[in-house]
Every structure is written in structure tokens, then in C-alpha cells.
């Protein structure tokens, strides 16, 4: 989100620290960054390849690992579109209309971020578990939610719930309502306004929210761990599979599978940075368009 154009700070002699202060600050913060952030990331790949390519590859193509990858993809594929639609609906509701309790609603949308992942898993056990509210009814109809795939999907939806909405609400708030009002006055229908005016304006913010949502959906551990029951090859997602391998002291395999998730994290950061650059390029170009109008 940073512009990284700091020439104004470097140029002003009044807003500059003595050389030694600058170098001390740089050294300490870079050392902190390298030690606490970079080193753990590098160690994932180092541990993964410690026993060579062959072991690495075997750990990934093994049936249980593939089943875990498949389940993770399913959970993300279901939770992503649902939270995307919710994010669009919520941000439209909040930024295009004025109603009582709006700020409270925004706080409620953020709620899943404030709740511990373990608590997030527990609430679904309390609703759908054998002793939960709907437990007896579900049992009668032979529907399994907890310790089965639907529970994992629900927990994933919960922990990724706010991502798209919280990215879009400030963005659409800042853009205002003028363009949509103009479209409506000119006779566009609600959906036309949405697809032709709003959506193009928010596409980068939307993509931003979706990739963050995806990263969390595929990497969630605590919430999913509570509802999964850890049935190998059946209700294990990639992070849960990593845990099982690790607890079996099968470190090379655990890190090999973990390295897939680390790659996904790196990919997420790369796309995120790319979006930020595109956004900056577009805001820089915007004033020219403004003048042409």
C-alpha cells in the first residue's frame, strides 16, 4: 500500500537524521526482518529438500497428500465465491445507502477476525456436533457436518468471512456515489450500474480481497482442526496433513508438503504487490483523464 516515493523526505535536510542514526536504524530493522521473517521462510525450503528431490516428490504425490490437496482446493473453491458475493452485497449496502446501525454492522463484519480460530471451530461443533443444537436432527437424517467436509467448508467460510468486504468498503466509500448516480439518472438499471460502473472501479480492490481470502482459506489450521476429526485421506486439509506428518516425526515429508503452502504464500505476496503497483499507476494516470473531461 506504500508509494515508496520518499524523495521528499530524503531531500529535506531538516527532516533527515544524522548518518549514523540512519545506518543504525537500517541495520537493526533489516536484521530484525531477516532474522524473524526471512529465516523461517528459508528454513521451510531447506528442510523440505534436506533429503533430496526424490523424497520431496514422493511426499507430495503420496495418496494422502493428494487427498489433502484436493480437499483444500474444494474448501477454497466453495468459500471463495460465497464470501465474494457477500463482500459485494455488504459493501453495496453499506456504501450506497444510509441507514441506522451502519457502523455497528461494519464492526460485526469484522468479528470473525477478532475471534480465535479455535473458538471459530468450536461454534460449529456446538451447532452441528453430536451434542449440538441440530445434532440429533442431523443424526436422524444421516447428515454429517462435523468431522466431515461440510464442517471444514463452514469453518473456512467463517475465518475468511471479512476479507473481501473489508477491502471493498473503504474503497467504495472513498469513490463516492457520483458515478453511479450519473448512471442511474441516465437510465441504467441497478444491475447495469453495478456491472458497468461499480465493478470496473473496484476490480483491483476486489482481486486484492480475493487473493488474501484464498491464502487464508487454503492455510487455515486452528478452526479446521477442531471440526475435521483428522481422518487421514478423508478430512485432512494440507495444513492438517502437515501436522500429522510432523507429529509422526516424518519431518522431510512434513516440510515438503508445507513448502507447497509456503510457495502459495509467496505467490499471494507477489500478486498482491503487483496489484498495488497497478493501482498506483492508475491513480497517477487519473488526473490526466480528469482534465480531459
Amino acid at each position: 500500500m506504500s508509494s515508496l516515493s520518499n524523495s521528499r523526505f530524503e531531500r529535506s535536510s531538516a527532516a533527515r537524521e544524522p548518518r549514523w542514526v540512519k545506518w543504525t536504524l537500517l541495520t537493526i530493522s533489516l536484521a530484525f526482518f531477516g532474522f524473524f521473517l526471512l529465516l523461517p521462510l528459508i528454513s521451510v525450503f531447506a528442510e523440505a529438500f534436506r533429503k533430496g528431490w526424490e523424497t520431496y516428490w514422493q511426499a507430495i504425490v503420496e495418496p494422502d497428500a493428494l487427498a489433502a490437496i484436493k480437499l483444500t482446493l474444494i474448501a477454497a473453491a466453495i468459500s471463495l465465491p460465497l464470501n465474494l458475493v457477500f463482500g459485494l452485497a455488504a459493501s453495496w449496502a453499506i456504501t450506497k445507502f444510509d441507514f441506522r446501525g451502519k457502523h455497528f454492522l461494519v464492526s460485526l463484519i469484522d468479528l470473525p477476525f477478532a475471534v480465535s480460530p479455535v473458538v471459530a471451530g468450536l461454534i460449529y461443533v456446538l451447532v452441528f456436533g453430536a451434542q449440538g443444537w441440530l445434532g440429533p436432527w442431523l443424526d436422524e437424517h444421516d447428515i454429517k457436518i462435523i468431522f466431515a467436509i461440510p464442517g471444514i467448508v463452514l469453518a473456512t467460510i467463517f475465518v475468511t468471512f471479512p476479507f473481501v468486504a473489508r477491502e471493498l468498503i473503504p474503497l467504495m466509500e472513498a469513490q463516492g456515489r457520483e458515478e453511479e448516480e450519473a448512471a442511474t439518472v441516465l437510465g441504467a438499471s441497478g444491475w447495469q450500474t453495478f456491472f458497468k460502473v461499480t465493478l470496473p472501479n473496484i476490480k483491483w480492490g476486489l482481486l486484492y480481497g480475493v487473493i488474501l481470502c484464498n491464502a487464508r482459506a487454503m492455510g487455515e489450521f486452528g478452526a479446521v482442526s477442531v471440526v475435521s476429526g483428522h481422518i487421514r485421506g478423508f478430512t485432512n486439509t494440507i495444513p492438517l496433513h502437515v501436522e500429522i506428518l510432523y507429529n509422526e516425526y516424518n519431518f522431510a515429508a512434513a516440510f515438503a508438503v508445507a513448502s507447497i503452502l509456503a510457495l502459495l504464500a509467496l505467490l499471494t505476496l507477489a500478486v498482491k504487490t503487483w496489484i498495488e503497483w497497478r493501482q498506483q499507476a492508475e491513480t497517477k494516470a487519473a488526473p490526466i483523464i480528469e482534465k480531459q473531461k
Binding site: 515508496l4 530524503e10 441507514f99 477478532a114 473458538v119 450500474t193 492455510g219
Partner: protein, 277 residues
């Protein structure tokens, strides 16, 4: 006012209705289950469950380590944000992008990576062990994990405020005879303080509920290195749903309080810096 603006755009009922229904089904009703289940315990049993010595020890550990990690992140996060905004150096764009790594890296991966690093024969652990410093499977390990996951919160709340800061303020202070430290202490810091506190509160809130990155490195010894979220899991595995729910209720109340104070802090930041939220 509300009636008029409602009429300009279509879709009020659809978007607000859908938002409320989805929010209730996924978040509110399931969360309410905690309240109901905890309510069936009765006040005395509830109190007994959430104040046993083992649970009390876990609160002290969880909140103590989270506070400490938040404080460490406040200091180093501020420093990192400062360096990223104010200085030019090689690899800056890379570092700026990588600051979000703890948001993107799954917690279980963080957990096993840190454990491998700090264990007896790990890259870092092998040098600390001879000095008598044990990190993996101790409370120190929990702190390391919480520092990792909390860092981006402080950097990302402070960074935009630093970027928008008017350089003229500092120039004015300098021309009035303030030295660089005085300018920082009396001009820059008061503007940054609400953002630093917000970042601290966000990091703290996240750390309190953190599970995945901690359990691998913690050692999980009852009364010593057992965090509160782990206690919930342990009780669930013993089919003690009531006990798990009681502790979860305590954590939920604390999360809600944190959410409220973070909202307050953000309002303060907006007021101090003149930025909209």
C-alpha cells in the same frame, strides 16, 4: 435523508437483506451458541471451570506473552515502517512486499519452521543452546512465534500515517531550533502514537487467539507452556464440551472488548491525523 438516498439506488432490500441473513447464519447464530451453552452451566460451575489453576496459568501465559510480543512489535514495527518510508536502500521493494509474509504464510507452516530453527540442532538453536538459552518447547518459543505473526500489524498501520505526514512540520520544528530527537519526540511521535497503539492492539488481539504457530513450538506443558486456545482443544478431545465452551466464552468476551478498543483507537488515529478511516 435515509428515505431519499434509499430511492436513488435500487437494491437496498436485496443487499442489506442478504448481508444480514448471511452474517447471521455464518457468524452471529453460531457465535450465540457459545452464550447459550455456557448459560446452561450455571454461574457457579462456569466460574469454577474458568478459574481452575491450570486455566489461570494459561491466561497469564497467553496474555503475558501477547503483551510482550505486541510491545516488541510496536518498537521494531515502528522502526521498520520508518526505514521503509524515509530511506532509500537496496531491496526495499522486496522487504516492503515481504512484511506481509506472516499474513500469507499458514500458521502451521510458521509453527514447524520456527520449531525446526530453534530446536537443539536447528540453525539458530545450535548456537543458543551452548549459551544456556532454550527457545523451542519453552515460553520463549511462544514469544518468538507471537512476534512473527504480529509484526505486519504495526508496520501496516504506521506506514500510511508516516507517508502522509507533512514534512513542513518537521522543517518548522528544525528552523525553530529543535534538534532531530526533539523533533521526533515532540512533533513526529504524537502524530504516530495512535497508529502505533492501534498496531499494538491488533497484534495483541491476534496473539491472544493464536493457535497454529504456537502449539508446535510451545511444548504444551500444563501450568508452564499451555496457551488458552490449546486448553479449549484439550477439553474438546476429552468430550468436555461444557468446559471448552466456558473457556471459549471468556476468550470471546475478551475478543469483543479488544475489538471495541481497537475501534476507539482507530477513531483517535483518524482524529489526530485528519485521515478518514
Amino acid at each position: 435523508m435515509s428515505a431519499a438516498s434509499r430511492r436513488i439506488f435500487p437494491g437496498f432490500n436485496l443487499s442489506v437483506g442478504y448481508t444480514l441473513v448471511y452474517l447471521s447464519l455464518i457468524v452471529l447464530i453460531p457465535l450465540a451458541a457459545i452464550g447459550f451453552k455456557a448459560g446452561t452451566l450455571g454461574w457457579e460451575t462456569f466460574w469454577e471451570v474458568v478459574t481452575t489453576p491450570q486455566v489461570m496459568a494459561s491466561y497469564r501465559l497467553t496474555f503475558g506473552a501477547s503483551l510482550l510480543a505486541g510491545a516488541i512489535n510496536a518498537v521494531f514495527g515502528l522502526m521498520l515502517a520508518w526505514v521503509l518510508v524515509r530511506y532509500n536502500f537496496f531491496g526495499k521493494r522486496f522487504i516492503d512486499a515481504m512484511v506481509d509474509l506472516p499474513f500469507a504464510l499458514p500458521t502451521a507452516v510458521t509453527g514447524i519452521a520456527l520449531t525446526a530453527l530453534y530446536s537443539q540442532n536447528g540453525w539458530v538453536g545450535q548456537y543458543l543452546e551452548p549459551l544456556g538459552i532454550k527457545v523451542a518447547f519453552t515460553r520463549l518459543g511462544i514469544l518468538v512465534a507471537l512476534v512473527f505473526i504480529g509484526l505486519p500489524f504495526v508496520v501496516r498501520t504506521v506506514q500510511p500515517i508516516l507517508e502522509d505526514m507533512e514534512i513542513e512540520l518537521e522543517e518548522a520544528a528544525a528552523s525553530l531550533g529543535a534538534n532531530r530527537w526533539q523533533t521526533f519526540r515532540y512533533v513526529v511521535m504524537p502524530i504516530l502514537l495512535p497508529a502505533v497503539l492501534t498496531g499494538f492492539a491488533l497484534a495483541f488481539a491476534r496473539a491472544v487467539g493464536e493457535y497454529g504457530s504456537v502449539i508446535f513450538i510451545a511444548g504444551n506443558i500444563p501450568m508452564v507452556s499451555e496457551i488458552t486456545p490449546l486448553l479449549i482443544i484439550t477439553k474438546l478431545e476429552q468430550y468436555d464440551y461444557a468446559g471448552a465452551t466456558a473457556i471459549a466464552a471468556v476468550m470471546l468476551v475478551i475478543s469483543l472488548l479488544m475489538l471495541l478498543s481497537i475501534n476507539g483507537l482507530q477513531a483517535w488515529t483518524a482524529k489526530r491525523t485528519g485521515r478518514g478511516r
